[in-house]
């Protein structure tokens, strides 16, 4: 009976954890669930207001939550029905590939599609306004303040029958969309014969008509568009045109996109592209969160979710307490530093060390002692000589330990079973997530699952072992997700596997090399396959395998070409066992990138490592990578 009770309690707890932490995608959560857990992001003040804004961030960075939070439903839930207290009056539209891709092909030229798609955009955005307006006008009626609205111009601009109330207009819009759908599914001739509307006019007329309600005077309506990258280039041009002219209009745009590097900047007016910052502002979510305290924001989000787990309402569970860090000394001991010291002691004895020197060695803190072995390998000096230097220059030795202690940790385990490195502590988790709130929640959830599976409660801190196992698991899950993330998902997966293996080997074989290399820059060479490499890098960055950052911080603005350095996303660091910190870069060639993404990735890995006199064979695959042993070792 007691066992069953315990088992049920565990099931209940894990189910609650799943509901609060496991369901991390706001895209399909009920709006009420999204808003109940809403935490205002640090960049909130940058996205509200009349200025158009691009909100840039990969999956899981909080774009959708922020845009939904801005929408009228979000503001209604968060702030109540008084629109004066709202951050914005907005509608939300998630752009779906399966819908917008219907507007292409059939050997129609772009001009035809621009006109047809513009009409669809008019219908869609007008529907968004109507949803809010119907609610607002009903509220006015309830308050005995009915407003009469003139919809003649709206109807004329849409080529539909004149109506006098918003609900009738909503019905007619649904009918127009159904007609458009029927024509898209019919023959091209009838599609081209359809009556279309001029881009932006119905929206403008409706917003002006709504100002008959004095509460809406001087209010700017915001269109929150999510997943802008799903639009075809010409479709982005259509939206850009509306954005460009929004300064003269009673509306603005808040546009969510995965990355800002591969997008259309032109508008329908030749020679008038979108300009940053003249036409819009850009908020890069990850950079903003990291610059202004992502760890704090993430902590707030996590603590809020943890609080809602039943039974904790009167307790305060803080992720800082749940996820304690390890000092480098403690971690070194867990990784087998004492065995390293013992082995080194034996070696020093064989080298006829004096008793005084041995006593000095025994007094060294564990990391300084292990560094003797590390430095001996690096400089190809006998350990006894290195120790004598450490004894002679203790201050220098301590500084050197500080510089190399972190990379030293990756070498301690050797070929003994167990984690090659520990990844624990709230700050480490926040760094691994690198500005992606979804990753933080997944890491925490996975760690708690492992923690509670072992019979622990939420009042006990999660062990380093479980935190590390969780980080490895999330890294693996993120790798698997890459396959489905892109049209070339298979290639991106191979590229990630290849880079991860390279960095893992470099971390395990650091002697004589720059420590903590986990970034790269791509050199262009004559005759190289720059198009293929560029496509891979763009897709990998867009889908979160790589993090791109400008090599030259001062390059920017529209029309200027930026060069980028790339880092394998830190979420993979635990899985491949390399440093998650942004440190040093290596140079790769375009054919390296293409080779790593190909079916012959193994040879590219060997070739790249050989340049720094390393070989993958000298470093066993970490246990967690054993399922890919065929991929890394297969001879074709």
């Amino acid at each position: 009976m007691k066992f069953m009770t315990t088992k049920n309690e565990l099931d209940d707890l894990q189910k609650q954890l799943s509901m609060t932490l496991g369901q991390v995608r706001s895209e399909y959560m009920l709006d009420s669930e999204v808003f109940s857990m809403f935490s205002r992001p640090t960049y909130w003040s940058k996205i509200i207001g009349p200025r158009p804004c691009l909100l840039v961030g990969g999956r899981g960075t909080g774009k959708t939550t922020a845009l939904k939070g801005l929408s009228y439903k979000g503001q209604l839930t968060l702030n109540g029905p008084d629109i004066e207290s709202w951050a914005a009056i907005a509608s939300y539209w998630r752009i779906e590939s399966n819908v917008v891709s219907a507007f292409k092909g059939r050997k129609l030229d772009n001009d035809n599609w621009i006109n047809i798609f513009s009409h669809y955009v008019n219908l869609r955005l007008t529907q968004g306004i109507l949803e809010f307006a119907i609610w607002k006008f009903q509220l006015d009626i309830d308050k005995q303040k009915p407003v009469t609205i003139d919809l003649k111009l709206v109807c004329a601009s849409l080529n539909i029958d004149d109506v006098t109330d918003l609900t009738a207009l909503k019905d007619l819009l649904a009918l127009e969309i159904a007609k458009l759908e029927a024509r898209l599914n019919g023959n091209t001739r009838t599609l081209l014969q359809m009556s279309l509307s001029a881009l932006g006019k119905p929206i403008e007329y409706l917003l002006i008509a709504l100002q008959a309600d004095t509460d809406l005077n001087d209010k700017v309506f915001a269109f929150c568009l999510d997943e802008y990258e799903n639009l075809e280039p010409y479709q982005q041009t259509v939206i850009n045109t509306l954005l460009k002219h929004s300064g003269d209009s009673p509306y603005t745009f808040k546009i969510g996109m995965r990355d800002s590097t591969n997008r259309e900047r032109s508008t329908l007016a030749a020679g008038q592209p979108l300009n940053d910052p003249a036409d819009y502002s850009t908020v890069n979510i990850v950079e903003d969160l990291k610059g202004r305290g992502f760890a704090e924001f993430a902590r707030e989000v996590c603590n809020k979710r943890l609080k809602s787990v039943s039974g904790l309402h009167n307790d305060i569970i803080d992720v800082l307490d749940l996820l304690p860090a390890l000092s480098e000394e403690s971690e070194a001991l867990l990784l087998g530093a004492e065995q390293v010291r013992a082995k080194l002691r034996t070696r020093l004895t064989e080298e006829r060390i004096t008793q005084i020197e041995m006593d000095a060695f025994d007094r060294l803190p564990i990391l300084e002692a292990c560094l003797v072995s590390y430095w001996s390998e690096t400089k190809q000096n006998a350990p006894i000589e290195v120790l004598r230097q450490a004894i002679r220059e203790p201050k220098t030795w301590r500084t050197r330990t500080g510089n190399y202690s972190y990379s030293l940790l990756f070498t301690l385990r050797g070929s003994v079973r167990g984690p090659r490195k520990y990844y624990c502590g709230w700050q480490t988790y926040a760094q691994i997530a690198d500005g992606n709130i979804r990753y933080v929640l997944r890491l925490l959830y996975e760690a708690l699952l492992k923690h509670t599976d072992d019979g622990n409660t939420l009042h006990a801190p999660i062990s380093a072992k479980h935190q590390t196992a969780a980080a490895e698991q999330i890294g693996e899950n993120s790798l698997r997700e890459l396959q489905g993330a892109s049209l070339i998902g298979g290639q991106i997966t191979r590229l990630t596997l290849g880079l991860g293996r390279i960095y893992g080997v470099m971390a395990a074989q650091p002697y004589g090399h720059t420590p903590e290399v986990n970034q790269f820059k791509v050199d262009t060479i004559p005759g190289g396959d720059s198009t293929a490499a560029a496509e891979l890098l763009n897709e990998a960055t867009s889908h979160g395998s790589l993090v791109a950052f400008a090599s030259d911080k001062h390059a920017g603005g529209s029309g200027q070409t930026k060069e980028y350095d790339y880092q394998l996303h830190p979420i993979f660091s635990a899985y491949f066992a390399y440093s998650h910190r942004r440190k040093r870069r290596m140079i790769l060639r375009e054919d390296d990138i293409v080779g790593l993404a190909s079916a012959d990735s193994r040879r590219s890995i060997e070739r790249i490592l050989k340049r720094s006199n390393r070989t993958p064979a000298a470093t066993e695959l970490p246990e967690q990578l054993s399922i890919y042993s065929e991929f890394f070792n297969n001879d074709k």
């Binding site: 819908v99 219907a102 159904a178 023959n187 091209t188 698997r480 998902g489 079916a599």
Partner: protein, 330 residues
């Protein structure tokens, strides 16, 4: 191979050497050199009496059209978006029509099936199973290399769905094949809800072990949020079996908007298309248009003939939320 002939309600399973078409029928087919089952035997075609048998080859398949070789006529390019044109071509063929979809892409045969049903043309759909699939040496989820890459999610011709209905309340049914990456891609792209997702796996498969390949190939996504607990099953080579499962899931959703991704077997894709035709705007097909890898399959397996017309006259084909006038009991 055995000399087996199996007949279920609307399906005939035979060996391809036993395939015969009745006198006076039309046979519409495509051809490809990238698979062994992709070429209709020229000997078989020549052996038929041209006075009694009309064979029409779809010689080219493009994104928006196909090229058809009409008898005693020049080649004709037919737009996949021109329903009237497709109907004219089909009405010009003798009845019944046998449409071999083995070598036809979904975006080519789906509008043909739709037009034939709308025109009440007596339609039999033919499909040849492969003998086996080529295996991959790569990572787990790329177990079977059927596709080089996908062409991107876009509607099949004639199946665009625009209206922003209550999508968020609707269910998602991915009909799974071996390629986990395709499932993962679509699942992420449409931001499906785990709790309202009901994958379908072909059981029994073309071969008994193939069902396990499907589980294995898709285990990354199925393993998340315990999605494997919601898997439903339908016979891999039966479109009508999957039609009934779709109907069952649609009922669970109270007949709200249903998104179906036919990324498994071609018979299952046929069942999905029939379901979408039957249920109209409440069903949305999500398809990623893969670029097929060459030599992805080996040999020929069973040949299946599906009596689509008889099936469309059964009660099952009429949505339960509409008046049931003019149906036949199945």
């Amino acid at each position: 191979m055995t000399n087996e002939k199996t007949t279920t309600l609307h399906t005939l399973e035979i060996q391809s050497r036993d395939f015969e078409i009745p006198d006076g029928a039309s046979f519409l087919f495509g051809q490809t050199d990238s698979e062994e089952r992709g070429r209709v035997s020229s000997g078989w075609l020549k052996a038929r009496d041209p006075a009694l048998f009309i064979a029409i080859e779809i010689s080219e398949q493009n994104e928006d059209s196909f090229l058809i070789k009409l008898p005693a006529s020049r080649d004709l390019e037919v737009s996949l978006h021109d329903v009237a044109e497709i109907r004219t071509v089909l009405n010009g063929l003798s009845s019944p029509l046998y449409l071999d979809i083995t070598s036809l892409s979904h975006h080519t045969w789906a509008p043909l099936v739709s037009a034939a049903i709308e025109e009440s043309i007596e339609l039999f759909v033919v499909y040849i199973e492969p003998e086996e699939y080529r295996k991959s040496n790569e990572t787990e989820d790329m177990f079977i290399d059927l596709s080089e890459r996908t062409g991107g999610i876009r509607p099949l011709p004639g199946f665009a769905n625009l209206a922003p209905k209550v999508r968020d309340a609707g269910f998602f049914v991915p009909i799974l094949g071996f390629e986990g990456a395709r499932f993962a891609n679509i699942f992420q792209s449409i931001e499906a809800d785990f709790e309202r997702t009901y994958p379908i796996i072909g059981v029994p498969g073309f071969r008994p072990e193939y069902s396990f390949y499907s589980f294995d190939g898709n285990k990354s996504t199925l393993g998340r949020n315990h999605l494997y607990r919601q898997v439903q099953f339908a016979k891999a080579n039966c479109p009508f079996s999957v039609f009934h499962v779709l109907d069952m899931v649609h009922e669970w959703s109270d007949y709200t908007h249903l998104r179906v991704a036919p990324i498994g077997t071609k018979p299952h894709a046929l069942g999905s298309v029939l379901f979408a035709i039957s249920r109209g705007v409440r069903v949305e097909l999500i398809y990623d248009h893969p670029v097929r890898a060459k030599r992805s399959t080996i040999g020929e397996g069973r040949l299946c003939i599906y009596d689509v017309t008889t099936f469309t006259r059964t009660r099952a084909f009429v949505p339960p939320y509409e008046c049931n006038a003019g149906y036949h009991e199945s």
